[in-house]
Symmetry: C2
Subunit: 225 residues, 2 copies
């Protein structure tokens, strides 16, 4: 039982709160029983798992938690990219908020078993907040880092200022749904022919827009099947 | 310029991080220029507003921020309930996560100019995280605390285990969309005749489910108009 805060595994977990170390070591943390179970279900081998009261003093595990107190288990896993296969991809551009990145990974997996592709300026999908927001979908459908040019398919960009609406868009698979950051949106070239989700007031966040568009795409695919 | 951490206004802001004090004082905080502007745009009079470098030493404002460093402005407002009018209401049951409550307030406002009704067991919509997630929609469409029995309309409950799908549901306004907590879902009576959003794998979070259903409802209303 680990009883010293200077233990190497605890030190590693502390380091992995920083992106720099996650990249350098090629590892990341998943906190909580649900996520560790999701990793196992998806066939991910942990580097190690620490359980409070079994492997480590509970207060020492709490002290290295990135998400607040009460963590019973932390697993450390290798960063592993996914594959850009399947009828739908969600391509994100400049989505800086890790909670939004994780939420879109979850929605894409749940609605369409789809993979998320991260373009420039996105939050690290293996950060603690993104992992938590993905609720295990990160393990089932790990995201890919790639440029839009590398993806093949029917590219449909979503932008609040789009002239046409989502209802008018051709969502024929293989579909590449492109979503931009909350404030800056998509690059001009992509935004030129973008479609919008009609709103009554104000604006949707990027995770909401992605979820609506993914739902619309799979609903139409099911109807056409 | 406030230069002491013992200043009464700073003390009030610190207290308002706790629900107990938000209820007792009937006040809450909004942090950041966007939210303070949204409050003004929606006609909310603040109790007071503190700006870093104008009203208060910047480091003292940072020290009372509930959302991390770098806050330039904090406004304190009276808790004020909204009204249960309009063709669509989103009724939440046991949604404990303040981020989800705030996100649903934002989606309901953006997609349908709709008000969120909070039933038992929901997070305080005036908590710092909920206010932040609502992105100002809290001021434009403040939520209401009420029991489902007090609401009139076409009640449609969403549940992952529903027999019928959202596509098959009658969404005729006035519509009351009912959404439950992530784990426990809705009370049995409501869940009995619930509809589901088809998923390919795993599950959607409650904010995503709400957003999809609200989008579907307004899309159909627009088509029928």
């Amino acid at each position: 039982m680990i009883s010293s805060p200077d233990n190497d595994r605890l030190k590693t977990i502390r380091k992995l709160q920083q992106k720099r170390w996650r990249m350098k070591l090629g590892l990341f943390c998943a906190e909580g029983e649900d996520l560790v179970e999701a990793a196992a279900a998806a066939g991910w081998e942990p580097e190690f798992v620490l359980r409070a009261g079994e492997d480590v003093e509970p207060e020492l595990l709490d002290a290295v938690s990135a998400l607040g107190s009460g963590t019973r288990v932390i697993g450390v896993y290798p960063r592993r990219p996914g594959e850009t296969s399947g009828p739908v991809l969600a391509y994100l551009h400049g989505v800086e908020d890790p909670g939004n990145v994780g939420t879109i990974i979850r929605s894409a997996h749940a609605l369409a078993e789809a993979t998320v592709v991260l373009g420039p300026g996105c939050a690290d999908p293996f950060s603690p907040k993104a992992v938590r927001a993905s609720m295990g979908s990160l393990f089932a459908r790990p995201p890919v880092q790639a440029a839009l040019e590398e993806l093949r398919g029917n590219v449909v960009a979503l932008e609040a200022s789009g002239e046409r609406t989502l209802a008018e868009a051709d969502l024929t698979p293989p579909l590449v749904l492109c979503l931009g950051a909350e404030r800056d949106g998509l690059p001009t070239a992509l935004a030129a022919d973008a479609v919008r989700i009609p709103v009554a007031a104000d604006s949707l966040n990027v995770a909401m827009a992605a979820t609506i568009a993914l739902h619309e795409a799979v609903t139409r695919m099911a109807a056409d099947a």
